[in-house]
């Protein structure tokens, strides 16, 4: 599988070294060296001799997008876009963004690139990589410890646990996020993402990570943005290949030559400079260095694809002379400017975003306020009238209005051919390409008192004002703030109306009155 043993052992060494660090804190000193060497031997035997080990994970290519674009381009089932397009996209994306173990960042505008403002190197180091240790100095792999089994190593929402969850975990690659303080169409602020990590998403399988340290949360937020930017770029590039002519490529190299086959130096000069984010301690440990060239040449940096193993062995020197550096430079710069810059600008724009100040009226927070009753009535009328909440959330608010909608993550491919979601055969090939079986998105049952975007008045306000991106919940462009607040009050009270409350729970056995 194109994976060499050397890496395997190196990984073992890393494990060993960091454990030795932990150990020195907790273990006494007697007989220590012997014990370590026994451990070291045992690990090596287990890792190396026992069965070998699994290659480090790679970012999965967006097979669903490829499939979708192939169908959009009018190809028949079974046909796909030409392989060299896939190679080009994979090579470029992995050249720019590295691998799960060794992330990197493309510097579109030189070394002081704005992209680096989005994610700090320290953050990426903490979040990326294999789970190693909680030890302060070498802590890494936060994402794979806490997130990847649902959201996937690639951030595609397709980790091993994902299929069992309802709703499905978020696929970051669309760059859409539901719960944020920014208007529809813009990315969330970092504070939004962090708040979401702290609070979780009630009513879903997304738990709260409040107990993580502040810098750990920041690191995860950075990494989510990194995955999202990477995923968006990949999708844009895939879409771009669809419109290319027969003999045209994203990177115009001679046939049978791949972008990643170019010497790293050449890519450095004619391509987009890339900043490698390699964990410093790891580079001390082995002969790796933070320069891009070596990182790029290590087998880790190759994206997973079916023929990766076979082609990577081709000698590079023979082919280097046959390409035209200027064309390549032009193509790569074009890609960076045409596809990457808009993404990064969109995200960078949000760094400066300041949410509009909203005053929370007193009658929202104070249940006993005199005005509350009248506002409740206004909210009630809006619900059934102007705001038309009733259409989806239903007359009783249990979310039984319109239940046959899908969210954007599903519609993204469901709408391409107008697939009937009720027909498993129609979407089977999309599911094979990595889509989750479509599940209708249900309007929230407002009588449970569980609000995914948070239940503070301001959260409810934002959800009504800006809607929920990626879902049928629209932004309320025509309502005034006052009206939105009235709706908030109405929604707040709904779970506490008598019809919402089931018979009061049985008294516990240890709740007997005290003698």
């Amino acid at each position: 599988m194109g994976y060499d043993e050397k890496n395997c052992l190196r990984k073992g060494d890393i494990l060993l070294r960091t454990r030795a660090n932990t150990r020195s804190r907790w273990w006494g000193s007697g007989g220590l060296d012997l014990w370590i060497s026994v451990k070291r031997m045992a690990i090596l035997v287990l890792l190396g001799g026992f069965v070998g080990c699994t290659p480090p994970p790679q970012f999965r290519e967006n097979a669903l997008e490829w499939h979708k674009q192939a169908r959009t381009a009018g190809l028949k089932p079974g046909e796909s876009l030409p392989d060299h397009h896939r190679h080009d996209v994979n090579d470029v994306v992995s050249d720019w963004f590295g691998t799960p173990d060794q992330p990197s960042v493309p510097l579109v505008e030189g070394t002081e690139d704005p992209l680096m403002q989005l994610f700090s190197p320290e953050g990426l180091i903490r979040a990326a990589g294999p789970v190693v240790s909680r030890d302060e100095k070498s802590s890494s792999g936060l994402y794979r410890r806490h997130c990847s089994h649902c959201h996937g190593v690639t951030g595609d929402g397709r980790g091993p646990t994902a299929t069992f969850l309802s709703p499905y975990p978020r696929d970051f690659r669309l760059g859409k996020f539901k719960f944020k303080s920014s208007p529809t169409g813009t990315p969330p602020t970092k504070a939004d993402l962090k708040l979401l990590l702290q609070n979780g998403v009630p009513g879903t399988s997304m738990p709260s990570f409040r107990l993580l340290k502040d810098e750990e949360l920041d690191a995860l937020v950075d990494y989510v943005i990194y995955l999202s930017v990477r995923g968006m770029l990949e999708r844009f590039l895939i879409a771009a290949t669809r419109d290319l002519d027969e003999d045209e490529r994203l990177v115009n190299l001679p046939k049978e030559m791949r972008y990643r086959d170019l010497p790293a130096k050449a890519r450095m000069e004619i391509g987009v400079p890339v900043r490698s984010i390699v964990e410093p301690s790891r580079s001390v440990e082995s002969d790796q260095s933070v320069t891009r060239s070596e990182a790029a040449e290590s087998p880790d940096s190759k994206i997973e694809s079916d023929e990766a193993g076979a082609e990577s062995t081709e000698p590079l020197e023979q082919t280097t002379s046959t390409y035209d550096p200027e064309t390549v430079e032009e193509d790569v710069t074009f890609m960076a400017e045409e596809y990457l810059l808009p993404i990064s600008e969109k995200w960078l724009g949000i760094l400066e975003f300041e949410a509009k100040e909203v005053d929370v009226p007193a009658w929202v927070t104070d249940r006993t306020h005199v005005e509350r009753a009248s506002q409740l009535e206004i909210g009630h009328q809006l619900y059934f009238g102007t705001a038309n909440c009733v259409q989806c959330h239903g007359e009783t608010g249990v979310g039984d209005g319109q239940t046959n909608n899908f969210d954007d993550w599903t519609n993204d491919w469901l709408k391409v051919e107008g697939i009937n979601p009720a027909d498993p055969e129609a979407w089977a090939e999309y599911v094979n390409a990595g889509a989750h079986p479509p599940k209708p998105i249900l309007p929230r049952n407002l009588r449970l008192g569980v609000y995914r975007g948070g239940d503070r008045p301001i959260d409810l306000f934002r959800r009504i004002q800006y809607g929920i991106e990626g879902t049928p919940m629209p932004a309320s462009l025509t309502l005034t703030d006052e009206q939105v607040w009235a709706l908030v009050v109405y929604v707040q009270e709904m779970p506490f109306e008598p019809i919402s409350r089931p018979a009061t729970a049985k008294k516990s056995e240890n709740q007997r009155p005290v003698r």
Binding site: K11, L15, R19, T22, R23, R25, W26, W27, K39, A42, L46, L47, F50, V51, G52, C53, T54, P55, P56, P57, Q58, R60, P100, P130, V131, S133, R134, G141, R144, R145, H146, S148, H149, V153, G159, P160, T161, T163, F164, L165, S166, P167, G203, T204, S205, K439, L442, L448, V450, P502, A505, S508, E509, N510
Partner: protein, 558 residues
Amino acid sequence: MIGIQFLISSLIWFLIGGLMAAAMRWQLAWPWSDMPILGSWLFEGEGGQISPEYYTMLVTMHGSVMVFFVVIPILAGAFGNYLIPLMIGADDMAFPKLNMLSYWFMWPAFVCMMLSFAAPGFGPAAGWTSYPPLAVLEEAAPGSGLAQTLWLGGLTCVGISSMMGSINYITTIVQMRAPGMTFFRLPMTIWAMLITAILQAFALPVLTAAVLMQIADRLLGTCFFIPEGLMVADALPKSGGGQALLWQHLFWFYSHPAVYIMLLPAMGMASDILSSMSRKPLFGYRPMVYSMLSIAGLGFIVWGHHMFVSGMQPLVGAAFMLTTILIALPSGIKTFNWLATLWGGRLQLTTGMLFCLGFIAMFVIGGLSGVLMAVAAVTIFLHDTYYIVAHFHYVLFGGTSLIVIGSIYHWYPKMFGRMMSETLGKFHFFTTFVLINCVFFPMHFLGAQGLPRRYADFTHTDSFVHLQPINEFITYSAFALVGVQVVFILNFFGSMLFGRRAGNNPWRANTLEWVAPSPPPHGNFLAPLEVHRGPYEYSVPGRAQDYWMQTDSELSNG
């Protein structure tokens, strides 16, 4: 014979369960690292990092396999089947066909369990106790879909198998004893098997009913165990009206007696081996029988101690605490009697005997930590921590499994007509005994720190990260423990071919099975038997031989 079939299939499952434990230990020592074999098989895209629901599945299946496929069948199915007719002097079980059915009903269960590994979620993941609503609602856990249904189906088949077995054992023991074999001349093994069979016959229907209720909850939409107003993922609301605690009551009404089903036969076999190998009559035969009876009786009214903090009425908990604490008494009496049996004997330190001695030591530890847990107030702290894990592994692994292995060494000559290698056997005992303690003793300390069971990873907690070196130590020991069982496997199969031939009575023991040829032919005995005395007449003064077989006439003097 059916007994041997049970033995071999249980040992295979023992291996599978052990390997699962090894996988769990890997995850606990090096959380989320690349797991050998399993990681590259199933989680290659994740770099060999298993998923948390896979860990819960391992926990669940390790427990289920060990309890339902290993300990219960190997004691009742294998040794019960094998020893009962031989020890009471019968030519076969009372219902041979029922007997065969009881074995072949295990196979649907085996198939169900195997299939559940292939079901979504790689297997049930609600714990071997399958507490609802987690186990009942498909949306609640990845393994609670088809896999859980298969698990329940498998459990039903195990139940049917055990039920048929226990009816057969009771009938055989009551009806088919050789002439002169009165109840108080029965070896302890047979007493234990009889009491176990009665326990099973009374407790199993409750479990079967509970399992069928859970199946109905899952497939027919009943809500026996589902209260109203649940919000599980996006699941549609259920009508509810059930009570989640009901399952716990029903389950433990079976599963607590099952603890004794998993222990009493081992105690019986230990008594027989100890007495014959110390060449001394069993001390206090009748107190031993009575204590076993009282364990069985009390065993039915202590199930609540699994539920001290479950939300059950605390007053009931207090009552259960009193009965529970009393059940420690008969076990203690048995231990003292064993020690008195050894005292003043002439101990033959065969491998089987060593395993029995090891069993006593481990059982004392496991039993005493049980006293701690019987104290309800302390259980508030210890419930569902590694202290519990240490406790039941000391009883079930350090206790029962050591006896099972010891009994295999002891009765192997009878089963296969050849002796097992004593050298390999003693090496196996030494390593197993030491490693069991290396694995399970440190768990007491983990438990004293409040380390919770069934956590896939506690290195991300502040309170427990300092326990990680201990976890690694346990993991290395556990790997070694699984590893040294290779010695046993080699010995077991190697001795079939190369073992020294055993005579009818290689241990010079008294009980009836040693009258029969090794291995016993169809019909077991060559001639009709008559029993003249109890099973433990060793070193009777005035006799040249230090044993006096139950069939020997009064006059014979060796």
